[in-house]
């Protein structure tokens, strides 16, 4: 079974660091995870985004999941909300795009135009 004592130690270490962090004013990344998304390969995209954010130690990003976004044929869909709540929608995202989205959109603040929904429909 998972050692709760060890978890407690990790928790206390994390608690020290978290005080230094600014959790607000960040990006929110959302991955569509309904039947359509799952079938199109959304699960590895979601996990890949979480791993990339953690690896780069980006403290101003939360990654989460939602249900069907309504454009099933364009899944996997990744939506990025900035601090103002502005949304950018990326479609048909592949694992190799994860890095680009994080690096360009989150770090350099540049929209990845090649993945935009506007490439597929008006």
């Amino acid at each position: 079974m998972i050692s709760l004592d060890e978890l407690k130690k990790l928790r206390d270490e994390a608690a020290k660091k978290i005080n230094l962090r600014n959790q607000k004013d960040g990006f929110r990344i959302v991955v569509g995870m309904a039947t359509c998304g799952i079938t199109a390969g959304a699960r590895p995209i979601l996990n890949g985004l979480v791993e990339e954010v953690n690896k780069r130690n980006l403290t101003n990003v939360t990654v989460t999941q939602v249900g069907c976004i309504g454009k099933c044929s364009l899944e996997p869909i990744v939506e990025v909300y900035d601090k103002a709540g502005q949304r950018v929608t990326y479609c048909k995202v592949k694992p190799e795009n994860i890095n680009t989205i994080i690096e360009e959109h989150i770090i350099n603040n540049r929209v990845v135009t090649s993945l935009l929904i506007s490439n597929y429909e008006v």
């Binding site: 978290i18 699960r43 999941q65 249900g67």
Partner: protein, 180 residues
């Protein structure tokens, strides 16, 4: 969908849409009895009585973003193809989906990457997941209620915590699987 873990993730999305705060997932490989048991239980709002018979139809959905629902109908299809039985138990306190299949059936899918499914669900911080995995009588339980109790004010999605939990999860999973 290519394996069980994807179906489970899909069914768990129904639980989330039913506003569940607790999702219990059980996988039991009963190799001695040649059965595979899967159960997904939630404390969501349940399925209305007059709708229970229609939820496994691909043409039924509660969502408004598209006109067909697929999750439960695909799951049922997959279960029956592996010589299995499928049951929905539901009331206003929650819904339980249960399936019992023939373990050595040629159409039975692989369990697949169950750790990815569980950790996708763990990202929903407001929902608790209790995952139980059994191979015959060896057992592994991953319960976010007790984990969150220890974490107290620290989020379960905190990178160092997530990483560690994932590693522990895989370790425990492999111990149980080695008993096969």
């Amino acid at each position: 969908m290519t394996d069980f873990s994807l179906y489970i993730l899909d069914l768990a999305q129904n639980c989330i849409r039913a506003k569940a705060t607790q999702i219990d997932i059980t996988i039991h490989e009963m190799i001695n009895n040649n059965k595979l048991f899967i159960e997904i239980a939630d404390n969501g709002c349940g399925i209305p009585k007059d709708k229970v018979s229609s939820v496994t139809s691909p043409f039924y959905t509660t969502r408004t973003t598209r006109k067909v629902g697929l999750g439960l109908s695909l799951f049922k299809e997959m279960v029956t193809s592996a010589n299995g039985e499928f049951k929905i138990i539901t009331n206003q306190y929650g819904t339980t989906i249960r399936a019992l299949m023939q373990y050595d059936h040629v159409d039975l899918m692989d369990i697949g990457n169950i750790e990815e499914t569980i950790f996708c669900l763990v990202l929903n911080e407001e929902i608790n997941i209790c995952f139980e995995y059994l191979v015959d009588d060896s057992r592994f339980v991953f319960d976010t209620v007790e984990i969150k109790k220890v974490l107290n004010d620290i989020k379960i999605t905190e990178p160092t915590i997530m990483d560690w939990l994932k590693k522990q999860f895989l370790k425990e999973l492999n111990i149980v699987r080695r008993k096969k």
